[in-house]
């Protein structure tokens, strides 16, 4: 492979020294953008998403894996899916999830007595969603946490979180088409995991 050296003259030409040709080229470029954007349909090259316009829903533009404000999913009977396993609060790097467990009664798993997320502390990493074994917590609302008047308003409890939730289609107890139906150890991606 040969190395070629491109010699660049640092000597400024007369045209460079009076600036005007370069300035004119610059002006023509910006003027072209100006007229294209003002006089053509759909504002030419402007591809800004018009967030805030009445007929523009920003959710349509967010990717599927966008992480928004949390929500808690429901079971078929409308109760919370969460079994208070503490996975999410353990994995949370911001320590913003606070869960008090209670007995659900009968043979069933635990349930959260209170499930509190401090959205001001949340770093929106999405680890809680990944850690959740039973599809109880999700961040797929496609909504940002809205501004609040007091800090207390930004601390969401179980009722707030469940208000956004819907019935999850995943089968409770590991039956059904979810990732737990296959052995995680069989997945080569987990082979290096020493935990």
């Amino acid at each position: 492979m040969t190395i070629t050296v491109k010699k660049v003259s640092l000597q400024r030409t007369a045209a460079d020294q009076i600036f005007l040709p370069a300035i004119l080229r610059g002006l023509v470029t910006t003027a072209r953008h100006f007229f294209k954007n003002t006089l053509t349909k759909g504002m030419g090259d402007v591809d800004t998403i018009r967030y805030g316009e009445p007929d523009v829903h920003v959710e349509d533009y967010y990717p599927e894996r966008f992480r928004g404000v949390h929500r808690l999913m429901h079971r078929d009977d409308g109760s919370v899916r969460c079994v208070a396993c503490m996975c999410c609060s353990t994995v949370c790097p911001a320590r913003c999830i606070y869960i008090h467990a209670e007995d659900r009664g009968g043979d069933e798993e635990k349930a959260p007595k209170s499930f509190v997320i401090d959205e001001l502390k949340c770093v929106v990493c999405g680890f809680c969603v990944e850690a959740c074994p039973c599809d109880a917590i999700r961040m797929d609302t496609k909504r940002h946490m809205h501004p609040t008047e007091t800090r207390a308003d930004a601390v969401l409890g179980k009722i707030d979180l469940m208000k956004r939730g819907t019935t999850s289609v995943a089968q409770q107890g590991g039956v059904g088409a979810d990732y737990r139906s296959t052995d995680p150890k069989a997945d080569p991606r987990f082979e290096h995991d020493r935990r």
Binding site: L20, H33, M43
Partner: protein
């Protein structure tokens, strides 16, 4: 961009685009000479009415033969009430006026005759015998200049009056200030507040301010965010008015006013039209009538201050603008502010030198400092941008530097949190901001006056009495109409919010084309009422100024800023030597041409070569 425009035009009109060309084709066919023109006697007398004030020098009357054959002119006499007070300066013998030539003579008014103590004419004495006349006051007087050209009697009214200072100066002055400031500068400056943001957005492929809206009766008006002008103003008013604790309160308050005031005051010298004749608003007038009005007799020049030293006045006042910046920086008690103030004063002083010297070239060519006369001189020769292109570029550059905006925004230094108004907030800051935009408007107005022919349309196509010829009117209206219509359609298609505006523009454009077609059949366009001519002149001036404002914003958002040493070296080592060279070369060329007799130096004011010889007239 032209291709885009054409493509839009084609898409919008489709096969109908050919229809737009139709008026132009018909126009060409209408240019055939009229066979009856040869026999017709067409004589024009300028001015249509002579107005004298007590200190008026003799006024020239010109008889122009616009026909095809020589006409005899004879029987010059003055009759009417006060015939004795007026006199024809030279003895006039009957003479022939050749086709395309003119003859002129001067009429003088003997002012003391009209004083109360002097013997008035018989009719006047009977009428006013009972009244006590102030011996020092002038009364009004009237007479008629009569003469006979080619067997046809012509009568030119002569009028003597001594209007009070209020009528001649104060009232028109106040009206013109209101018209200029409230009707043009302030709306345009506030428009620029929004345009700066919107235009920069459009140039950078952003949306820009567009959310301010108002809902009236269920209809939401947005107008591309034009209402941001109002919201910005409101914001300025309601912000905290902060004064630093150790600031010099009086100077701190004075500084924004000192920045704003010179920017407004310098507009006094800018002519935004030729002249307005009060009593001939709906008549067809000639250039001589307008000149008479521009001299203040029977009208007023469309310029707030008609002063001989016009441009020197501009330099004097514009230098005061440095005070605003310097005081603001010094009074703020802030080291960053005073650094900005130092930069501002150094920059403005440096570039003032360049500004002054670049104009000298234009002054050498046109031989006057008075902007109104400067525009007239441009109309008689050609526009300054053609005669002095180097001066145009140098002046525009230096003038942009004077406005302290990018790429010369070192005094402000947004990116360095440095600037003479760092401590200012609320409406005090708003005043600085507004002053900056008023300076932008002023620079545009001055460049228009000095280099772009002021209120005139190019190529002498539009004179004091209307278009130069019917086909010029048709061409103008066709081209302007097609341009406006095409832009309107493009705007209409550009977005849903703009449909109404686009449709209005389209309607205006179609109206223009209709006017062109009307002119095609009637020959309309050469004789327009005076008021319409004045309005067209003011509109032309306004469009030129607006286009230059647009250009300045384009430059401001295209070029990066200079470093401070680059700024100084551009001013002192670039613009200054170039403007000196421009002066030298212009002086040599002007001297050589005037020595060779190609051009004649402008006559000194007051020196009136009263000749009755046949002169090349204004007639075609």
């Amino acid at each position: 961009m032209i291709i885009t425009l054409l493509a839009n035009l084609r898409r919008a009109f489709g096969p109908w685009a050919a229809l737009l060309l139709l008026p132009s084709l018909l126009t060409l066919s209408a240019c055939a000479p009229d066979p009856n023109a040869a026999a017709e006697v067409r004589v024009q007398v300028e001015p249509g009415e002579l107005v004298f004030h007590p200190d008026t020098p003799p006024v020239r009357v010109t008889i122009i033969n616009e026909g095809q054959r020589p006409v005899p002119a004879q029987g010059f006499r003055i009759s009417g009430n006060d015939w004795a007070a007026f006199s024809i300066v030279e003895p006039l013998n009957p003479r022939m006026v050749m086709p395309g030539r003119s003859m002129s003579f001067t009429i003088a008014a003997d002012a003391p005759t009209f004083k109360g103590t002097a013997v008035p004419s018989v009719v006047q004495a009977e009428r006013e015998a009972a009244e006590e006349l102030d011996p020092e006051a002038y009364r009004e007087g009237q007479a008629v200049l009569e003469f006979n050209v080619a067997g046809k009697e012509h009568a030119v009214p002569l009028r003597f009056e001594d209007p009070s200072w209020i009528i001649t100066t104060l009232l028109p002055g106040v009206l013109k200030v209101m018209l200029l400031v409230m009707g043009f500068i302030m709306p345009l400056a506030s428009l620029l507040l929004w345009q700066e943001r919107k235009q920069s957005a459009m140039m950078q492929d952003r949306v820009g301010p567009n959310m301010a809206r108002i809902t009236l009766g269920g209809i939401t008006i947005r107008l591309w965010g034009l209402l941001h002008i109002a919201t910005d103003g409101l914001k300025m008013f309601f912000k905290e008015d902060f004064i630093p604790r150790r600031a010099h309160r009086a100077l701190y308050t004075l500084a924004p006013v000192m920045a704003l005031m010179p920017a407004l005051v310098v507009f006094a010298i800018v002519p935004f039209g030729d002249a307005l004749c009060y009593e001939h608003l709906f008549d067809v007038v000639r250039q001589a009538d307008v000149d008479q009005c521009a001299a203040g007799r029977g009208g007023t020049p469309l310029q707030v201050a008609h002063i001989d030293i016009g441009l020197l006045f501009y330099f004097a006042i514009a230098s005061l603008a440095t005070w605003g910046a310097t005081l603001a920086g010094w009074a703020s008690y802030n080291k960053w502010a005073i650094l900005g103030a130092l930069r501002a004063s150094a920059q403005m002083v440096s570039y003032e030198v360049a500004i002054g010297l670049t104009i000298v070239g234009a002054l050498l060519v046109y031989g006057t400092l008075e902007p109104h006369a400067l525009v007239h001189a441009q109309l008689e020769s050609s526009w300054g941008i053609l005669l002095q292109p180097v001066a145009f570029i140098l002046f525009f550059t230096a003038a942009i530097a004077e406005t302290k905006r990018a790429p010369f925004d070192l005094p402000e230094g947004e990116s360095e949190i440095l600037g003479y108004f760092v401590e200012y907030s609320g409406m005090r800051f708003g005043l600085f901001f507004l002053a900056e935009f008023i300076e932008v408007v002023f620079v545009s107005a001055l460049v228009t006056t000095l280099f772009l022919g002021g209120w005139a349309l190019p190529l002498d196509m539009f004179g004091a009495s209307g278009f130069a010829a019917p086909w010029v009117a048709q061409l103008f209206f066709t081209v302007a109409g097609a341009g406006i219509a095409a832009t309107g359609i493009a705007v209409w298609r550009a977005s849903k919010h703009a449909q109404f505006v686009g449709a209005s523009m389209l309607a205006i454009g179609v109206l223009h084309v209709c006017v062109a077609i009307y002119s095609l059949f009637t020959g309309w366009g050469t004789e327009l009422p005076h008021l319409m001519v004045v309005v067209v002149g003011m509109l032309t001036w306004g469009i030129k100024v607006f286009a230059l404002c647009w250009l300045q914003l384009l430059i401001r958002w295209t070029l990066p800023r200079f470093r401070y040493d680059q700024l100084m070296s551009l001013g002192w080592k670039g613009l200054l030597p170039l403007s000196l060279a421009n002066i030298a070369i212009t002086a040599i060329v002007v001297y050589a041409l005037s020595a060779a007799g190609t051009i004649t130096p402008a006559p000194a004011p007051g020196e009136d070569p009263a000749t009755i010889a046949n002169q090349p007239g204004a007639a075609p």
